[in-house]
Amino acid sequence: MADTVADGAPQRRLSWPLQFDKLGVVIAVLTGFALVAPFATMRANRIVAGEAMGVVASLPVWAAAMLLASVLATTIIAILRTPTALRFPAGIATLAVLAILIGVAGEHLTPDDNNYARVSPAYGFWLLLFAFALLTTDAMARLKLGPLARIGMLGLTALAVGLLLVSGQWDSLSIMKEYSSRAETFSSELIRHLLLAFGSLAAAVLVGLPLGIAAHRIARVRAPVLNVLNIIQTIPSIALFGILIAPLAWIAANVPGAAAIGIRGIGAAPAFVALFLYSLLPVVANTVVGLAGVPRQANDAARGMGMTDRQRLAKVEFPLAFPVILTGIRIVLVQNIGMATIAALIGGGGLGVFVFQGIGQTAMDLVLLGALPTVAMAFAAAVVLDAIIEMTERRGRTS
């Protein structure tokens, strides 16, 4: 009868003329809640409590009508069992409408010549965004897009968001006002953030790969190395950042030239070292697992062909273990982009600066200014690396 456990889906019966899609029902419920919830919040200045506004009050008539029409149409498409080829563009289109109209709401609600008033998206907006992101994500999962198509989609999304940012469509929103008053700091902290995340990854790969190869080849080294790295992972990140201040301050004071290249007790150096230490375990462990998974026959054949140890590593073991090692790198990169926010606590800079400033001033739009780019970068890194991993796996299988 049923051949697998999970795959016991019943045949579609046509006893009822209209079949409802279960996810569609969830989306309809979410949309229902969202449409009666406030769409935008308007505040007299950046930290006072605001006045929540519904869809109709937040938007000019044409925009409110456009929003309601597209939300309704897409919800109907979601609720009926429609083909994925229709659900996907409908979801994307509604997300785009939401993205454009929240800017319109900002302009509509901000009184003329008022630089203090702040307009932010309220939870009705976020709920709508979530509902249609669910629809789009589900459609994308069903379309089973290939790796290149996924990267392409990501690129298009980035382009669209970039265009919205450049066009000034969102300029009347509070988060963009927070940005415009710190545009210069923002770009330098963004660069600092990326340097921390990618730099520590690069260092971890440079050190972790040879360490992993050594741990694979010399059994005696394996357990101690992995145990030490495991224990480092259990130290909470803010403590590790803090603990490293002392040794780095000592190095800066006592090693000639160390201070000159930017090593200091407080600042980016301990953050960099902490991220590097956290990154080592996934890189080393995945290198060991990847190399251990190389089939014995492949190694035997390489030996039989008279390859030296180094040739075997470069031409046989490493290419075969590469997808697994890349998986380790993906874990590290996503984790580092997120964790680099904590660097701000010890003066290491990065986008965490805005997050913690925002928490301190209870200015949530400032928190968003730090948090949203971080989430977006981590997400983009995950998509790109997942696609690359899939491509290397495919190449490994076909060749």
Binding site: L23, P236, S237, A239, G242, M339, A371
Partner: protein, 248 residues
């Protein structure tokens, strides 16, 4: 193995001694303190903070476990299979959210204190448990499931007596991961004023007192290692019992 057990017992004894009588350890932590600065955290009781820390992690993990296992059961039933691809993607996307961002974004919704920390820990706890429960429930040995069907078990009986027990070790591994992540993430909760051991570390960072940073970090790290080992042992025990219970 024996030596490992002894080290763990000693670590646990030292941890309890430190939490109950922190001043016994003053000479050690004084090594990290600047002249004149207090060597032992003096703005609150360490034992209370540790218990609050554990309490937050425990509450969040239990909630995450109930929801995650429930969801995993739901999407592996025929009636919920429509949600399977979506739930997989959501788990992947969810893992890219940095903890600090989740904490900070939860603040406007629920205010400062323990609540945003609970939400962040709950969300972070969900993902590993859900992923493992899904793996456990979708990779059951086919003959066993077929046999239970053949025995005329209802789907509820199958779930309770066959599927969940067989998936238990994998689910427990997910819970272990989620607890470990939670213990570390709860320290970050103190940036939004949750009462956890992070308070000790942040007090140290703010007053430039390394002794506080080290003791807060050490307590969390020792707790994490001990709890990790405890759960691993529990997992092995259950796996062994499952192995013995299997007819083959």
């Amino acid at each position: 193995m024996k030596a490992g057990t002894i080290i763990r017992v000693i670590a646990f004894a030292l941890l309890v001694a430190f939490l109950v009588q922190p001043y016994w350890f003053e000479p050690f932590f004084a090594l990290f303190a600047n002249d004149g600065a207090p060597a032992i955290y003096n703005q609150g009781d360490l034992l209370t903070l540790t218990l609050l820390h554990l309490q937050i992690v425990f509450a969040a993990t239990v909630a995450a476990m109930i929801v995650a296992v429930g969801l995993a059961i739901l999407v592996t039933r025929p009636s919920g299979s429509e949600f399977l691809p979506l739930s997989r993607s959501l788990v992947n996307i969810g893992q890219t959210f940095p903890p600090v961002a989740v904490l900070a974004l939860a603040v406007p919704a629920v205010g400062f204190g323990a609540k945003p920390t609970l939400i962040a820990l709950f969300l972070y706890g969900l993902l590993p448990i859900f992923e493992n429960a899904l793996t456990g429930l979708t990779t059951l040995p086919k003959p066993v499931v077929e046999a239970s069907r053949g025995m005329g078990m209802t789907s509820l009986q199958r779930l309770r007596k066959v599927e969940l027990p067989l998936a238990a070790p994998v689910i427990l591994a997910g819970i272990r991961l989620s607890v470990t992540i939670g213990l570390a993430t709860a320290t970050i909760g103190s940036t939004v004023a949750a009462k956890t051991l992070g308070e000790v570390i942040i007090a140290g960072l703010n007053s430039n007192n390394l002794a506080f940073v080290v003791q807060g970090g050490l307590v969390v790290a020792v707790l994490a290692v001990l709890i990790y080992d405890l759960l691993s042992a529990l997992e092995r025990m259950i796996a062994r019992r499952m192995g013995r219970g299997e007819p083959a």
